[in-house]
Symmetry: none
Subunit: 229 residues, 2 copies
DNA sequence: TCCCGAGTGTCACAAAAGTGTCATGGGGCG
DNA sequence: CGCCCCATGACACTTTTGTGACACTCGGGA
């Protein structure tokens, strides 16, 4: 749901600051203290964007860049470099290292988030955009509205979050546990079958007016937003 | 189907935590309280990866490492060491004990799973990859879909797991016992012939639309996913 | 304060989908 | 030519999912 950023930065103070501010801006943030750790975390879960310090212990920023560009899963992952003033700046400016953008320390947090959003919009618009679309379904976050083929669909808050989540990765199957975590929050104690009920309600609302059911049930696995069949 | 991890750790609290979290991450986990028990369990069933505490009663972590490296079945089994801060760290860091990686306690669960996945990807990519292909058959774990020559193939949960398993080692022949273990789980009491029935159902589903039977029956031995002779 | 309506979480029961066994009939292989 | 060994349809049984009903909570308004 939230964009997932990985901050690879060895300077503890800066990392904490970034962590705090980016979290406040609505990003999910994880942190790595050096290039090696960063690469590992990336392997676990591909971030939506990487904030990368230029100078790093163990594996340098340039090297991390190179490796990310070499892997198919991360070839298109945006990389934003953090550089100190004067630090190899010519090379960085050209961005021929594979990074997509850079900021020079010290920088204003607002400038950073602006650049982050710009990069994200380019690669994964569904993460920052106010509106998600799938087939004839449109979900508008700003106005909290859902339309299907132009017709307004009324959803309760839970159904709205559920659809929002499903629309971020259409086709992918999510277990009830996963949906519970994503939609209800990770520390909620609710009957798992409650997910079924809400999926049912969402389905009913989306089918209003005779449209096809856009949710696929995968027996013994979960649900996905998907073309049937 | 699920990667099988063995946790060798004497600290009850940590072991339970690991058990719980790794299970949630989709691994099958077994636990041993000391090195001796660990070696026994490994002999019973070779794990896909071993999580090994450095300090252990009876047989130490280092010794377990050594013994695993000495046996052909486990020579290539990845070992991830768990060490307390400062504990023999130089020696561990060099990984000259035979371990493939290590984490220092206390550690974030996300870091641990990242490293586990990284190691598994290195040795057994088919265990963690999202998509398997063989000939014109594509199995996508994320969307839980199987396609043959672009046509969607509907499979029940058991047939899906069965195909998943067969696709991990195409061409190789598996006995009914082996398939039973892998697909039904090691503690299931079901008639062996049931495998035949499910193979039959899988075949039927895959032949849908006139395609050739991709499963080879090896008389008095088992089945394999294979081009027919 | 009290009432009301939208939203939620549970349950129970029905329906759908998937499973395990068995019996029967072929077929391959010595 | 016989044996095994396998393929397969039938079927009773389980498991999993869909859904309507219902009781509760929580903010507004009146």
């Amino acid at each position: 749901m939230k964009p997932y950023l990985l901050v690879i930065e060895d300077e503890e103070a800066l990392a904490t600051l970034l962590d705090y501010n980016l979290d406040k801006e609505g990003f999910r943030v994880d942190r790595a203290g050096d290039g090696e750790e960063g690469l590992l975390k990336i392997e676990e879960e591909t971030p939506d964007l990487v904030l990368l310090d230029w100078m790093l212990p163990k594996v340098s920023g340039v090297e991390v860049c190179r490796q990310l560009r070499a892997r198919p899963e991360t070839r298109r992952t945006p990389i934003l470099m953090l550089t100190a003033r004067g630090e190899e700046s010519d090379k960085v400016r050209g961005l021929d290292t594979g990074a997509d953008d850079y900021v020079v320390k010290p920088f204003a947090m607002s400038e950073l988030t602006a650049r982050i959003r710009a990069l994200l919009r380019r690669t994964r618009p569904e993460l920052v955009d106010e509106r998600l679309e799938y087939g004839d379904i449109v979900l508008d976050r700003a106005s909290r509205r859902v339309m299907r083929s132009g017709r307004n669909v009324h959803l309760g808050p839970t159904e709205f979050r559920l659809l929002d989540f499903l629309m971020q990765r259409p086709g992918r199957v999510f277990s009830r546990e996963r949906l519970m975590d994503a939609v209800w929050g990770p520390n909620t104690y609710v009957e798992l079958r409650t997910v079924d009920v809400h999926v049912g309600r969402l389905r009913k609302a989306l089918r209003e007016g005779g449209a096809a059911d856009p949710i696929r049930t995968v027996r013994s696995a979960g649900y996905s937003l998907d073309h049937q069949a």
